[in-house]
Amino acid sequence: MDLSSINPILLLASLMVAATPILLAAIGELVVERAGVLNLGVEGMMITGAVSGFIVAVSTGSPLLGFAGAAFGGAFLGLLFGILTQVLLSNQVATGLALTLFGLGLSALMGQNYIGVKAPSFPDWDIPVLGDIPVIGPIVFQHDPMVYVGLILVAATWWFLHKTRHGLVLRAVGENHDAAHALGYKVIRVRLLAIMFGGACAGLGGAYLSLVRVPQWTEGMTAGAGWIALAIVVFAGWKPWRLLLGAYLFGGVTVLQLNLQAAGVAVPVEYLSMSPYLATIVVLVIMSAGRAPGSLGRIFHASR
């Protein structure tokens, strides 16, 4: 065992990369849940995004177009969920599960000819001046653009939810859909848009795995990342900034256990591999105190 082989700067830098897919998926789900919808299909949307992004990127040679394709794929699956739960008034828990099972099957089918194919490379951005700062430079300012997209999305979501009129409407719909309906807001339209945004974000998160982090397509490659994103939303108490903390905490555990595996610690690999999931459970137990949006998971039906 050689713990000195673990470089703390590289560790922190890869922490940001490891946290990004979860952060992207979680910020989308946060908006969905603030609109009062519980979409348990994040895992399904994420893996569909991973495969559709990979296919688009490989066939066009452009990772950016790949990410666009992933967002589209995720949003499309989200739309299916939206139609079922908002228009056909199905149970959100069951539909979310169905979406995950469906997405896993769909992605496996779509990606069967892409196993073993290499993704076009997605270069890191070396931000001039800032990237040259010692220690902080390599940790924060030498990543690929999607890491920053994730951070910008968190900031933008916070601004949208708390500083804009549309954000207020969305929160009103999530807190009490009957009152929002009585005020004349289009509950179903707001929710459908939120669900599609959530799907697009989950798709981006999935594509980050298949295009940047791995970068390959393998069946079931999200390995529960979508569920961890759901857990982080609860951990964050439905607040955008605390999502960052949750995602980095999770990214930290993931990266640390991978580094420990590489360093050859005397703990069997299997027990290290289960640590991110155990950490998620522990975090959920400690932080179950947040207040969920009032109408979360309830079916809205405007009766006359």
């Binding site: 056909l88 469906f102 496996a108 961890i228 039906h301």
Partner: protein
């Protein structure tokens, strides 16, 4: 303009008709999908849904129906209790794995002793293992209010890692020349879950599944506990006034589903799978969720839905080997079935009204 009007009571006729409608829609859209994959849609649908029962090799496939259907029905019956009470255990796959490990551990520890008590002991250990694994989300939910959906699911990934560690380490066959996987339990007479009638596919797991269906039916429709379960789901506050202890209800429902999933795991590992190996589990715990919903959380419905889902597994394998249909297409077909069921379910609870725009 199309309007939905809530029915005062769910329509019984539609409750029976919607699963059939969902199957029909799945066949149609599945057929389009198969055509898009370059297969003959009619031949593929026939291969999946009819060949296992009626082709010239059906004598081989029919027993498979029982072997694949039994774990699905057993797990789904357990899940249906929780789902009716609004307790969402989606980690049956993990409970299934841990049940199999605990049950197999008893068998492996006693090898090569021969006694008629070993197999029953293994079944008990399997049920206990599944129950314990399900108690983790249960106790966390009761003590800390932690979301049982997420915890039970996270534990599936943990269970898979434990399984890998067992197959490669503690439970590896000492005479296996270093290959991963335990001793073959189906070749150890006292621990084997063999067919009760040769060539029928009928093993103890199938018997347990039928018992579970009867037990489930009596409990849900004839016993006060079943009434409390249904009440907890439909009106949690009303249930409290009726004397239901919600915390106990959570633990009992998770316990039942854990025990049945654990037993299903043991029957599988000591019979059809034969040994603890890295991937002996094939996702029955997740497919059972589809079975539970497709069967409308009703024991008899679950029995039929389990049969249908087993049919798609077997038919899917036939289509895979005879027609070259990708295995993922079957997984997609199963997901689609649940989707369509949830979509057409609106007809059970709502009436569709057409009205002129403006008169609303």
């Amino acid at each position: 303009m199309i309007l939905l009007e809530k029915r005062p009571e769910p329509s019984r006729a539609w409750a029976v008709a919607t699963p059939l409608l969902a199957v029909l829609l799945t066949m149609i859209v599945g057929g389009i999908l198969f055509a898009a994959l370059g297969k003959n849609p009619f031949e593929t649908i026939r291969t999946i849904f009819l060949d296992p029962l009626f082709s010239e090799f059906a004598w081989y496939y029919r027993p498979q129906l029982l072997i694949k259907g039994a774990p699905l029905v057993l797990i789904a019956i357990g899940l249906s209790f929780g789902y009716r009470a609004g307790i969402w255990n989606i980690g049956a796959e993990g409970q299934y794995i841990i049940g199999a490990i605990c049950g197999a551990a008893v068998g492996l520890a006693l090898y090569p002793m021969e006694s008629r008590f070993i197999f029953p002991l293994m079944v008990l250990a399997g049920a206990a293992g599944g129950t314990l694994w399900a108690m983790i989300p249960g106790i966390l939910r009761v003590k800390f209010g932690t979301n049982e959906i997420l915890v039970s699911l996270m534990l599936v990934y943990v269970a898979e890692q434990i399984l890998a560690s067992m197959a490669l380490g503690a439970m590896r066959n000492p005479e296996g020349m270093g290959f991963p996987g335990s001793r073959n339990l189906s070749q150890y007479p006292s621990a084997a879950n063999l067919e009760l009638v040769a060539g029928s596919g009928m093993h103890w797991g199938v018997v347990a599944a039928f018992i579970a269906v009867i037990f489930g039916y009596i409990t849900l429709s004839r016993h006060i506990f079943g009434f409390h379960v249904r009440l907890s789901g439909q009106g949690p506050r009303a249930a409290v006034f009726a004397g239901v202890n919600p915390k106990r209800m959570i633990l009992i429902c998770l316990g039942i589903s854990g025990a049945l999933a654990g037993m299903a795991g043991l029957f599988e590992v000591s019979g059809p799978a034969g040994q603890i190996s890295i991937d002996f589990n094939v996702g029955y715990g997740f497919t059972a969720i589809i079975v539970a919903f497709l069967g409308r959380l009703h024991p008899v419905g679950i029995l039929l839905a389990g049969g249908l889902m087993a049919l798609t597994y077997i038919g899917g394998e036939i289509a895979q080997s005879n027609l070259g249909l990708p295995g993922a297409a079957i997984q997609l077909l199963q997901g689609m079935l649940l989707f369509f069921l949830l979509a057409v379910d609106v007809l059970t609870n709502y009436r569709i009204r057409l009205s002129q725009r403006g008169t609303v």
